[in-house]
Amino acid sequence: MMSGSPILERLYDEHADAVFGFLLHLSGSEADARDLLQDVFLKLVRKPGLLGSVHHIRAFLLRMAHHAFVDSIRRRQTRERSALALGEASCWFAHQHPPGMEQDWGPEVSRAMTQIPAEQRAVLHLKLWQERTFAEIGQILGISTHTAASRYRYALNKMEALLRPHYEQRHD
């Protein structure tokens, strides 16, 4: 499967943005997201048979990315705490003005996401920005559908509470 660089290039062009966005929301650090994305692709090179029988490559890559993130957290547990606990997240979204919003609220959403645990951020990201079903999210993260759904609800409630002032103010 991974016999030549053109295949890797195609894989990168088709999936790297999505996997990077997921890793950025998980890790909260662009530097970590870069390193983890590289880890994912290096693993594909080291184990050429990995994608051999995979039907949903994007989902598989997201799963690999999640594994890479969990491994990295195990290796250096303090990193995430120091990066996120301070609430110094840069904007994790492209600058834009959503319809009905006066300003770009990406920075506020990014900051709010730092306030929820990584496992809830993972579900939130996969549901909202990868448009996955809870069953698919469960498969990607190795959790049950029910757990995925409940984590999403917790995350959404927390985000809503944190962002309500900005959201209501801008939505009015």
């Binding site: 660089s5 870069r34 590289q38 979204f93 909202l128 959404l156």
Partner: protein, 127 residues
């Protein structure tokens, strides 16, 4: 569970997560290329090793053969050194005398040797 998205969810969804930085593509693909090359060289080394290692079945066969050889070797009776013609007691004594004489001459020529008694002594002036 209600699958209909709320207005809040829709607003969140409209945000576009950051894409991978443009410089990252080259960096990752270059790293992958290096990894592929090192994998290829490792595979080359492995193929040489495979030539030397014919496979599990063959290796087990060789091991069994060696065990058999070892077992046969242990069962073989030790070869005894063929003994030469036996010396008579008189001939052995003669040889001993000659040996004493030769040794005494080597040590010091001033020894007085008594061949009849098979002994030697220091000269009287040395006593």
């Amino acid at each position: 569970m209600n699958n209909a998205m709320t207005d809040f969810e829709k607003k969140l969804q409209q945000l576009e997560p950051l894409s991978a930085p443009s410089d990252l593509r080259d960096r990752i693909l270059r790293a992958c290329s290096r990894e592929e090359e090192s994998n290829a060289s490792a595979c080359g080394l492995l193929s040489w090793l495979r030539l030397l290692y014919p496979g599990h079945a063959w290796s087990l066969g060789f091991a069994a053969l060696w065990l058999l050889v070892l077992a046969l070797h242990l069962d073989t009776p030790e070869r005894t050194v063929p003994s030469g013609p036996t010396l008579s007691w008189i001939a052995w004594k003669e040889m001993q005398k000659e040996q004493i004489l030769l040794l005494a001459q080597l040590e010091t020529p001033r020894f007085e040797v008594n061949l009849q008694q098979g002994s030697f002594a220091l000269p009287k002036e040395d006593l």
